[in-house]
Symmetry: C2
Subunit: 135 residues, 2 copies
Amino acid sequence: MSKPIQRHSRQRQVILEELRMQTTHPTATELHQLAKQRLPNLSLGTVYRNLELLTRTGLIRRLDTRGGEARYDGDCTHHFHVRCLRCGRVNDAHGLSAAPVKEQVQTLDGYRILGYRLEFEGICPTCQKRPTRQR
Amino acid sequence: MSKPIQRHSRQRQVILEELRMQTTHPTATELHQLAKQRLPNLSLGTVYRNLELLTRTGLIRRLDTRGGEARYDGDCTHHFHVRCLRCGRVNDAHGLSAAPVKEQVQTLDGYRILGYRLEFEGICPTCQKRPTRQR
DNA sequence: CTAATTGCAAATGATTTGCAAAATT
DNA sequence: AATTTTGCAAATCATTTGCAATTAG
């Protein structure tokens, strides 16, 4: 189960270029529309496959935590979360203060700021013990 | 178009109680399984409807930014984002740092911390001008 | 009584996947 | 030649919605 060698494809190149041209943080569909102007028979599936690949490679960033179901918390007191990147499990992160962060944000580009989300990412104790299989 | 009066329902009560009992940040399906033990013909649809309602009311928190499509960013330099809660648009938030917060996090419950997500939420300039329709 | 809420099932929306053909190395 | 990557379509997964029946106030 070795990782496949990555080849160079025109569609991947174009998708990356188009994304880099945008400042709007486009969705897969929007990107598909854009890239299609240069590669008329580019399929949406290919866009998805490449966005996933480019994200894994670290060439681009996916803003939204996708995949799987949404999680809910019944505890509304002020606290943050740590999410395991491998198994998806979420734990509470108590005793942290983001006061310094909050202070920096009064107005942002004319936005009226209502709140913020801060979430840590890492590998949970259980997954650290498991054999590291790269996916 | 006035907001509907909220009534009290047994299923909502049970869903809320079960969520509050958990420390695992369960998903809708997990919660459905749990609550079903007390209300055998509780439907998953009702769970979704109530999670949505409870989140709007502020009684619970939804951890994941759901709805719509994922957004991507071709700019991998260190920066954060502001998301408009009304139209979903995302802008960059430069010149901010969560370093002070990160410093507090060396180990968290045994997690190996690899990074964090910080995202601000608010109303964008365009939406501020639009008439405020509550949904 | 009136309107909110439910269960059920079907619909939707986003993303993923199987497969044979095309492209890369 | 060997494998990755593609386009297409069908499949999957999470969530939403329409509707008639039930329930709360």
